[in-house]
């Protein structure tokens, strides 16, 4: 088969990997193996792959708390992700960060963030680096519709426009910030118009169709590489609750059904119309994620004293553990 060279099929595979991965995250929680319950699944938002497919090696990005899918799309190893989500030493961040703070400098992931909007301005700095070093990279901030209410977004957009930086602001509008539907958080919902008012190229793309996302975001992504910063809104639906404990009582079954009908995987299957190839992919992905899951669960938890590592650069002294401080006090007094 030549699936690897077939972009739409490859995008389907990535979307399937995201979907299956997120299902495994849910299982991890149910098994009591996750570190906490603050797990935000990106099921329903897989069409972001249409945008990430415009990114290249060397490009950087930051994500919000619902960033598993984006990171997978940029090349993450699902075992190391699950291990991190489970708080294991083998995880991307050695069990320090967890689901909301995953990163891989090597893959250009400058960090997932648990502060709504917190990672957005970092791409402005990455854009300055790109400009000053002429490294051809773009940097993309991924965030939710909720972050459209964070002032720092507009500060960052303004700077990007002012300095003509190679950056893109990507809002994944899944219609909700926790229990608040976007019409209850936005005075006006025309988000691209906000970005345009600050001087950015802006577009809204239909997150039900990964190929539409791919096509409709191309100009903005290419413009960014040429120093015209951009804004993309991907219109999607959050299939599940906000985090693992949330059953979404604030929305109607009808609304949920309609939202889940806008499933980018089903849409892709329909368009691709190659049941055999798609089923092969699905099976391969299941196998991959099963292995990742098994590896993550088998991975050991970090040793207690690792908690003092990486507060500062390892070439400088680590913080003194409290027991060591007290022991020396007690010793002096004895």
């Amino acid at each position: 088969m030549t699936l690897a060279n077939d972009a739409p099929l490859s995008r389907y595979r990535t979307m399937r990997r995201i979907r299956t991965f997120e299902e495994r995250v849910g299982e991890l929680f149910l098994k009591g193996e996750s570190a906490g319950s603050m797990l935000h699944l990106s099921i329903g938002e897989e069409a972001v792959v249409g945008l990430t497919d415009h990114m290249k090696t060397g490009d950087t990005f930051t994500t919000h708390h619902r960033g598993h899918g984006i990171f997978l799309a940029r090349g993450a190893d699902p075992m190391r992700m699950l291990a991190e989500i489970a708080g294991r030493e083998a995880g991307y961040c050695r069990g320090k960060g967890g689901s909301m703070h995953i990163a891989d400098r090597g893959l250009g992931h400058l960090g997932a963030n648990a502060i709504v909007g917190g990672g957005i301005p970092h791409i402005v700095g990455a854009g300055i680096t790109a400009r000053n070093t002429a490294n051809q990279a773009i940097s993309v901030a991924f965030f939710g519709d909720g972050a459209m209410s964070q002032g720092i977004l507009y500060e960052a957009m303004n700077m990007a426009a002012l300095w003509k930086l190679p950056v893109v602001f990507c809002c994944i509008n899944n219609q909700y910030g926790m229990g608040t539907r976007v019409d209850r958080s936005a005075g006006k919902q025309a988000f691209p118009a906000r970005a345009e008012a600050f001087g950015l190229n802006a577009v809204r793309a239909d997150g039900a169709d990964v190929e539409t996302v791919h096509n409709d975001t191309q100009a903005v992504m290419e413009g960014a590489r040429d120093g015209h910063p951009g804004f993309v809104e991907i219109d999607a639906y959050r299939f599940h609750g906000h985090a693992r404990m949330d059953k979404s009582p604030y929305r109607t079954p009808e609304e949920e059904a309609a939202g889940r009908d806008r499933d980018p995987l089903i849409m892709a299957r329909t368009t691709l119309d190659d049941e055999a190839a798609l089923n092969t992919i699905d099976a391969e992905v299941t196998e991959e994620m099963d292995a990742a899951m098994a590896g993550a669960i088998a991975a050991p938890v970090p040793a207690t004293d690792t908690m003092f590592q990486d507060v500062y650069d390892p070439t400088t002294p680590a913080p003194q553990p409290q027991r060591a401080r007290l022991a020396s006090v007690l010793e002096e007094l004895n």
Partner: protein, 330 residues
């Protein structure tokens, strides 16, 4: 009296205050339809309507700023910031605006608002959702700061906070919402003052919020060998330390237990005061037991290990009184 939870005691405080005074409003993310991230405001939207229970966009600086303006013009807003970890977004509104308005404007414009939030560890919520940042608020003149540890205080301190003519930061603990207890008819101590939670002659332990419970567990385990006096500080800014100093003068020994990063913490302030005011009575230096000087790691085992527990409190307390060294100090 019937038992209730810390969560429901808070809810009842809001409900009673709102029923009494129509100027009381709530505003914050998910306080309405969702009922609060930790369920504290459940049902209040239905009771009081959307003009008084205001679901806000995710705009922390704007929320606090709006609450300030509402307070300046005659309402009594109770604003909510979902996690105290987001304090870094609102410290300008809190410390430069709410705390200083009365002063800068020569006494003309008070800001009678409450900022409810919650902090602390225990849910593997990682470095940006598990902090204890009360030290920032304690270092800010013009603010008041209350941190309830008990069900009864959850009710009474919040009611009292809503009666203050000045801004109050009110920090709940995410690990206490399901705590069960009774709401006493009267507050355990007057607003602003500590409550003695256990009498003892050998050692004074000062603490607040969730660490009160670890401390009480340790104190129970230490008795009768070591009798610990446990003081729940409750209100940290301004800190009324009279009761504490009286206790330390009796016991001659003091341990301060907090969950926050130890360096620059409330524990440091208290240790400094105790030495200043009780120097001639002290058998041992006041010691601080706090969180490790690190961000909170997500891994449950590491998270737990990074803050004090009853065992550690017990070990240090025993040493202070008996000089019996804990294994890690031997």
């Amino acid at each position: 009296m019937t038992k209730t939870t810390y969560r429901d005691a808070l809810r009842k405080a809001l409900l009673d205050a709102m029923a009494e005074d129509e100027n009381v409003i709530l505003m914050g993310e998910e306080v309405g339809l969702y009922g609060g991230a930790y369920g504290v405001t459940k049902g209040l939207l239905d009771h009081f309507g959307a003009n008084r229970v205001i679901d806000t966009p995710i705009s922390e600086p704007g929320i606090v700023g709006a609450a300030i303006g509402a307070a300046m013009t005659g309402l009594r807003p109770v604003a909510e910031i979902m996690y105290v970890d987001f304090a870094g977004m609102v410290m300008d509104q809190l410390a430069n605006q709410a705390a200083k308005s009365r002063y800068m404007f020569g006494g003309q414009i008070g800001v009678p608002m409450v900022l409810r939030t919650q902090g602390g560890t225990g849910r593997s919520a990682a470095a940006q959702h598990s902090q204890s940042l009360e030290a920032w608020m304690m270092h800010t003149p013009g603010l008041r700061l209350a941190m309830p540890a008990t069900v009864s205080d959850a009710y009474h301190l919040l009611r009292d906070a809503m009666r203050q003519p000045d801004p109050v930061v009110f920090i709940e603990h995410k690990g206490l919402y399901t705590l069960k207890g009774e709401i006493s008819p009267d507050p355990d101590a007057p607003w602003g003052q500590p409550a003695i939670r256990r009498d003892g002659r050998d050692l004074t332990i000062a603490t607040y919020s969730r660490m009160l419970h670890e401390t009480l567990t340790a104190a129970a385990a230490l008795a009768p060998e070591v009798e610990v006096e446990v003081i729940d500080l409750r209100c940290l800014n301004p800190l009324d330390d009279t009761v504490l100093m009286e206790s330390v003068r009796r016991t001659g020994r003091c341990l301060i237990v907090t969950e926050a990063v130890t360096t620059g913490s409330v524990a440091s302030e208290i240790a400094a005061r105790v030495t200043e005011q009780c120097f001639d009575w002290l058998e041992e230096p006041p010691l601080r037991l706090g969180g490790e000087d690190i961000p909170i790691p997500v891994s449950p085992a590491l998270e737990r290990a990074s803050i004090p527990d009853a065992m550690l409190i017990e070990e240090v307390a025993r040493w202070l009184v008996t000089r019996e060294a804990p294994s890690w100090a031997a």
